[in-house]
Symmetry: C2
Subunit: 369 residues, 2 copies
C-alpha cells in the first residue's frame, strides 16, 4: 500500500491497459476506446481514487486552464462582485481562477503580473493601477488579456497585442449618473473623485464634465479623496455649501459620504442629492438608497470568458445589438473570409451596457423605495 497519490500509471496497471488508453478515456479522445476497456478504466479510477494531475497535464499541453484576475481592491464591492461572477463563469467552464490584489501599488501590480506569468495562466483580466500604465507589459503578455479599465491617452498600439481587449467606458458611466442629476434641475454639481494623480480619477471627471457641458452648465467643485468609505466621509466635510448635487466615483465613496452627511445632520437628497457609479446590490440598502449606474457583473463575466477562451482571442458580440454607439469596434476590419489566416489586429471593445438604477439619493420618487 503506497501512500503517494495514484498516477495514471497506477490506474493503467489496475485496469490492465496502457496509460495512453487511460488518457483517452479521461479526455474522451483523441483516440476511440472500446466500451469494454472504457469500463475497465473507469472502474480502476474509482478503485484507486485517482485524481488527474493538472500540473502535469498543463506541462504536456503547453497550456493551463487557469486564468488570473488582477484588481486594485478585492474589498471594493464592485470588484468583489466582479470576482465572484468571473469565478462562477470560469468554474462552469472547468477553469480555475487565480486572484491578485494590487492595492493600487504599481510595483505590486507588476510583480503580480509576473507571478501569474510564471504560473502559466492562459489569460489575464486586469483592472489596473494606472499611474504609468504598464502598456508594454500588457501588450506583450503571453495569453489573452482583457483590460477592464483603460484611461484615455493610454491606448494600445494596434500592432502590439493581437490578443488584447479593451473594456468598460468609465467616463460614460460618470456621464450617465451626472446627467441624471442634472435632469432633476440641480445646477451646482460637485464630484467626489479618486486621488488626483490617478488617471482613472480624471476619466470619471471627464464624464462628469461632459454631462455638465452638454447641459450648458459649469463644472463645480472637484474633491479628490481615496476610493474608500473614509474618502467619501471626508468629502462630506469638504463639500461646499452651495453644492446641490454630488456625483461619487464609486459606491464606497457614496457610502462614506452618506455617513458623513448624516453625521453633520444634512439630509440626502434634500440638502444635497447624490448619485454614483459602479453601484452594486448593496446600493439599494444604503440610507437613503443609492442612485447609481450599475454594470451587470454576470454579463461582463460572460463576455470576458468568451474572449478569454476563444483560441485566437477574437471578440465578436453574438448579441443582437450592433449600432448602439457611433464609430463602433471592428469597423475597420473588412469582412474577410473566415477560413483565412488570423490576420486580425485583435483589438476590440466589450460593450458593457451600464444601467442607471434609481434609488432615493438623487431625489427621485420620494415616496417608494
Amino acid at each position: 500500500m503506497v501512500t503517494r497519490r495514484p498516477t495514471r500509471d497506477d490506474v493503467a496497471r489496475e485496469a490492465g491497459t496502457s496509460s495512453a488508453v487511460v488518457s483517452y478515456v479521461i479526455n474522451h479522445g483523441p483516440r476511440p476506446v472500446s466500451e469494454q476497456t472504457r469500463r475497465k478504466v473507469l472502474d480502476a479510477i474509482r478503485r484507486t481514487g485517482y485524481v488527474p494531475n493538472n500540473i502535469a497535464k498543463s506541462l504536456a499541453n503547453g497550456t493551463s486552464d487557469t486564468y488570473a484576475l488582477l484588481v486594485t481592491d478585492l474589498a471594493n464591492p464592485f470588484l468583489a462582485q466582479m470576482t465572484k461572477a468571473l469565478e462562477h463563469k470560469l468554474f462552469s467552464l472547468g477553469k480555475t481562477l487565480l486572484v491578485g490584489d494590487s492595492s493600487d501599488d504599481p510595483s505590486r501590480q507588476m510583480e503580480l503580473l509576473e507571478s501569474f506569468q510564471r504560473q502559466q495562466v492562459s489569460g489575464l483580466v486586469w483592472y489596473g493601477v494606472d499611474q504609468p500604465l504598464p502598456m508594454d507589459a500588457l501588450e506583450t503578455y503571453p495569453g489573452t488579456v482583457v483590460m477592464l479599465n483603460q484611461p484615455e491617452g493610454q491606448e494600445l498600439s494596434p500592432s502590439a497585442g493581437r490578443r488584447v481587449r479593451l473594456g468598460l467606458d468609465e467616463s460614460e458611466e460618470a456621464r450617465m449618473a451626472t446627467a441624471h442629476l442634472i435632469g432633476h434641475g440641480y445646477q451646482k454639481l460637485a464630484i467626489i473623485a479618486g486621488p488626483r494623480e490617478r488617471l482613472n480619477s480624471r476619466e470619471r471627471i471627464r464624464g462628469w464634465k461632459r454631462a455638465i457641458r452638454e447641459s450648458g452648465l459649469e463644472p463645480g467643485q472637484e474633491i479628490f479623496v481615496p476610493y474608500t468609505c473614509q474618502g467619501g466621509y471626508e468629502a462630506a466635510e469638504l463639500v461646499d455649501d452651495q453644492v446641490e448635487a454630488v456625483f461619487a466615483s464609486n459606491e464606497l465613496q457614496a457610502m462614506g459620504f452618506l455617513a458623513g452627511m448624516a453625521q453633520r445632520d444634512k439630509k440626502v437628497p434634500d440638502d444635497v442629492a447624490l448619485a454614483a457609479m459602479n453601484g452594486t446590490d448593496q446600493s439599494a440598502y444604503l440610507i437613503p438608497s443609492l442612485t447609481a449606474v450599475q454594470l451587470s457583473e454576470d454579463e461582463i463575466a460572460d463576455k470576458i470568458a468568451k474572449v478569454l477562451l476563444k483560441p485566437d482571442g477574437a471578440y465578436q458580440d453574438t448579441g443582437d445589438d450592433g449600432d448602439d454607439k457611433p464609430g463602433g469596434y471592428e469597423t475597420s476590419v473588412a469582412p474577410t473570409n473566415r477560413s483565412d489566416a488570423p490576420v486580425r489586429t485583435g483589438l476590440g471593445t466589450i460593450p458593457a451596457a451600464p444601467q442607471l438604477v434609481i434609488g432615493r439619493s438623487c431625489g427621485c420618487s420620494q415616496n417608494e423605495v
Copy 2:
C-alpha cells in the same frame, strides 16, 4: 528568432553553461555557483527575457506554491476582506492564490474541492457550506487544510487529518456581541439568524443563547433569513414589536436591517438596538454606525499562512498569549522532544481574538461617532 517563450535551456545556451547551473542560480542553490558564472547566467536571463515556468517546477518538485481559498460568498464584505488579507500574505511569501465561491451550494463546493486537488494546491483554506459537512473529504484532503468555520457536532476524527486545523469560534463571537447588548439593559432580545437548516446558523444562535442565559434572561425571537442585505431587510418586517435589541449574524444582514428600519421610520438604537458579528471596515459607515464584533483579517491571514506553510502542518502560536481560554489546544500533547518523529495528531485551533468595535447602533455614546 523563435516565437515560443524561452526555456531554461535557451538561457543555458545563451550563457554557455548547463541548464543545471541556471537552476542553481535561480533557486540560490542547492549547489554553489561561482560569481562569474552567476553573472553570465543572470545576463542571459535578462537578454532572453526568460520567465521560469512554475508549472514545470511544480511537477518536478512534487509540490506547488499555490493555495486555495474556498468560501461561501466572495461578495460578503468579511469574506472579501479575508480573501484580500490572505492574498496579500501569500503574495508576500511568493505564493499564489486560487479562489472558489461555493455560493452555499454543497455540490458546487465538492466540485471546487476536487478542482483544487487537480490543480495540486499545497493547501486549502475553507469557509464552508455545512449541510452535511464533507468531513471525509476534508480529512483525507492532500495538503494542509485550514477550516475557518466548524460547527459543533462536526468534529474531526483526531486520527484522520493529521494536517487539518480548526478555526474561528463563531458562537463565541455571537455571545460577545449579545452580551454587550445585554449590558445596555435590554431584556427582550431577538436574533437575525441565517437559514434555518444551516449548521452555522445554529452555531450563532447557540452563542446568542449562551449570553442570554448567562444573564438569567430568556431567549426571544429567532428570525431565519438569508445571510444577505435582503435577508436583513426582511427581518426588519418580521421582528416583533416588543423586541428591544437585535443581534445580526453578519454585516450584510445588519445593513439590510438598518435599511428596513429606516424604511419603516423606526430608529436604531432608540426603537431597537442592534449589534452584529463579522463586522468590517464598512461597519463604521453604516447609519447609524454598527456595533459589531470584528476579527482582524490580517492577523488571521498571518496565522493561516503560518499553518499552511509549515512543512508538517503543526500549529504553534508564537504570540505571547497562552491561557486566555480554558482547556486550550495542544494541551494533550506531552512536551516531547522536538527532534522526534512527527507523531502529532495535528489538530489544533487558531485563536482569532474577536474584538468588539463600538458604534452607535447599540446605544452607546449617542454623542460622538
